[in-house]
C-alpha cells in the first residue's frame, strides 16, 4: 500500500518529510494537499488525524503518524538499507544524529522559525512583521550559529562525515531564512556554515522538493 503525506508542498515540515522520502529513494507516495487557507487543518475531520491541527500527517497502511521529526525517523528506520543512510551506521553515529536533531529542534528552530514567521508568513496570516521580535531572535540565532561555525570547521556534516537526518532537518526553514526572510548574511558571514549550507541545500533531493511548492510557478 502506498504512503500518503497529508500536507502542503510549501510547508516547511512537509518538506522535511518529502526530502526524507526522496533521500530514501521512496517515490511511491501521494501528497494530499491540506488547504490551510481554508482552515482544513482545523476541521473536525482533520483533527481526528492530528489533534493539534498541524501538518504533516503520514499514513502508511494502518500506521498514522504526526510530527515531522517522528515521521522522518520512522521512514529512516523503515527504509534502512536503501538510499542515504540517514541515521548513520554505528551506535555512536545514531547518538550524534539524535543529538543534532535535538539541537535543531530546541536551539536552532525556535529562533529561526520566529524570524521566518515574522518576515515571510505573518502577512499571509493577516498579521504584520514585528521587527522587535526579529531583532531579538536574530541575536539568539547568532549565538547558536557561532557554535555551528566552530563545529563545522571540524566536521563536514553535523553528526560527522556523513549527511544525516540532523542536517536534513535544517533544510526547509534555513532555505526561507536565506531566500525569503532577508537574513542570508547569518549564513554567508560564517564560512563553514556557508559551505555546509551550500552543500546540503544543493542536494538534488531538496531541489526536487522545492519544486513541489504550490507557490512556485513552473515555466
Amino acid at each position: 500500500m502506498a504512503i500518503i503525506v497529508h500536507g502542503a508542498g510549501f510547508s516547511t515540515c512537509t518538506q522535511r518529510t518529502l526530502t526524507t522520502l526522496a533521500e530514501l529513494n521512496v517515490n511511491d507516495y501521494k501528497l494530499e494537499f491540506v488547504d490551510m487557507m481554508k482552515g482544513v487543518h482545523k476541521s473536525p475531520e482533520f483533527l481526528k488525524k492530528q489533534p493539534f491541527g498541524q501538518i504533516p500527517v503520514l499514513e502508511d497502511g494502518d500506521i498514522q503518524i504526526f510530527e515531522s521529526r517522528a515521521i522522518i525517523r520512522y521512514l529512516a528506520e523503515k527504509f534502512e538499507g536503501q538510499g542515504t543512510p540517514l541515521l548513520g551506521k554505528t551506535v555512536k553515529d545514531k547518538a550524534l544524529v539524535s543529538q543534532w536533531l535535538e539541537v535543531e529542534s530546541q536551539n536552532y528552530n525556535p529562533p529561526t522559525a520566529q524570524i521566518v514567521y515574522q518576515r515571510v508568513f505573518s502577512s499571509m496570516f493577516g498579521s504584520s512583521c514585528n521587527e522587535d521580535v526579529v531583532t531579538e531572535q536574530v541575536a539568539k540565532l547568532e549565538k547558536v550559529l557561532d557554535v555551528y561555525e566552530a563545529h563545522l570547521s571540524n566536521n563536514k556534516y553535523l553528526a560527522g562525515d556523513f549527511f544525516s537526518l540532523a542536517d536534513l532537518s535544517h533544510l526547509p526553514y534555513t532555505y526561507l531564512l536565506v531566500n525569503a526572510a532577508g537574513k542570508s548574511d547569518l549564513i554567508t558571514s560564517r564560512p563553514h556554515v556557508s559551505a555546509w549550507w551550500n552543500d546540503i541545500s544543493s542536494r538534488p533531493t531538496f531541489q526536487k522538493v522545492l519544486g513541489m511548492n504550490e507557490f512556485n510557478k513552473k515555466e
Binding site: I65, E67, A70, Y74, E77, K78, T90, Q99, E102, Q106
Partner: protein, 239 residues
C-alpha cells in the same frame, strides 16, 4: 579506558570507565538519565558518576565544559569516547543502550516505535514551548534575578490549556500511556516537567481526570522517585 583489540568500529565496546553525567539539580538532567532507572540490572551507582556543572557558579562557561557541550547547557553524558548532549538525545541513547533490560521504552515493533516517537516529539514541539517559559519565570524569580513576567506566564498558561486539552482527550480514549498500554520514552520525556507542573500549577489538572491519572502514575513510579534522589549535592564539581 580500555579498547578491545580487533573489534570493528561497529561493535560498541564497554569502556572500563563508568558513564559520567554533567549536570545539577534541575529538570533536564533527570530526563536525560531517567532511562537508567527503568532498566533492570542496571546498578546506577556503579555505572554512573555525577559531576556538577553549576549554573550559579558559572561552570557552564568553563572551557573544560564547553569542550564537551559547546552550547554551555546541561546535561551532558560521557560514555567512553562518546559525548552526547541534549537531554532527549541522552535519554534516547540510554534507552537504546539498555534495550532488552527492563521495559521496552522504544516499543517492540516499528509501528509501536513510530507512535512513541510521535508523542515524544509532541512533548518537544507542543508541551515544552508552553511550559518552558513558565519554568524559567519561576526559577528566575526564585533566584531573585528579576520579578516574574506575568505576561509570559499568562501566555504560557493559555498555550498549556490548549495543549493539555489535547492530552486529556487523547488519554480519555482509554490509552493508559501516551503511545499505548506500556510506559515508553514518550511518557518519560514528559515526566520531569509534568512533575513540576503538578505542584507548581495544580489548577491545570482540575477538570482533566485522565491527564491527572496519567501524571500521577508517571510521577510516582519508584524508578522516577529513585531518579529524583540523585545526590548532586555530594557530587564533585567540574574542574
Amino acid at each position: 579506558m580500555i579498547r578491545l583489540a580487533g573489534k570493528s568500529e561497529n561493535h560498541f565496546y564497554r569502556s572500563a570507565m563508568v558513564m559520567i553525567v554533567y549536570g545539577d539539580i534541575g529538570l533536564n538532567p533527570y530526563r536525560a538519565i531517567q532511562p537508567l532507572f527503568r532498566s533492570s540490572g542496571v546498578d546506577v551507582e556503579k555505572e554512573l558518576k555525577l559531576v556538577t556543572v553549576s549554573l550559579k557558579a558559572g561552570h557552564f562557561l568553563l572551557p573544560s565544559y564547553k569542550a564537551k557541550q559547546p552550547f554551555g547547557l546541561i546535561p551532558c553524558l560521557e560514555d567512553g569516547d562518546l559525548i552526547v548532549f541534549e537531554s532527549r538525545a541522552i535519554a534516547r541513547y540510554l534507552a537504546e543502550k539498555y534495550e532488552g533490560q527492563g521495559t521496552p521504552l522504544l516499543g517492540k515493533t516499528l509501528k509501536e516505535r513510530a507512535i512513541i516517537n510521535q508523542w515524544a516529539e509532541s512533548e518537544a514541539q507542543n508541551f515544552q514551548p508552553a511550559i518552558g517559559p513558565m519554568v524559567r519565570e519561576a526559577f528566575v524569580a526564585a533566584f531573585g534575578i528579576r520579578p516574574v513576567d506575568e505576561e509570559v506566564v499568562a501566555a504560557g498558561m493559555k498555550k498549556l490549556d490548549q495543549v493539555l486539552d489535547v492530552y486529556e482527550a487523547h488519554l480519555a480514549k482509554g490509552t493508559k500511556y501516551l503511545a499505548g498500554d506500556d510506559f515508553s520514552l514518550a511518557d518519560l520525556f514528559h515526566t520531569v516537567y509534568m512533575n513540576w507542573m503538578k505542584s507548581a500549577r495544580p489548577e491545570l489538572l482540575e477538570k482533566r481526570p485522565h491527564l491527572s491519572a496519567w501524571i500521577h502514575d508517571i510521577t510516582t513510579r519508584p524508578a522516577f522517585l529513585r531518579c529524583l534522589q540523585l545526590d548532586w549535592e555530594n557530587a564533585s564539581p567540574i574542574q
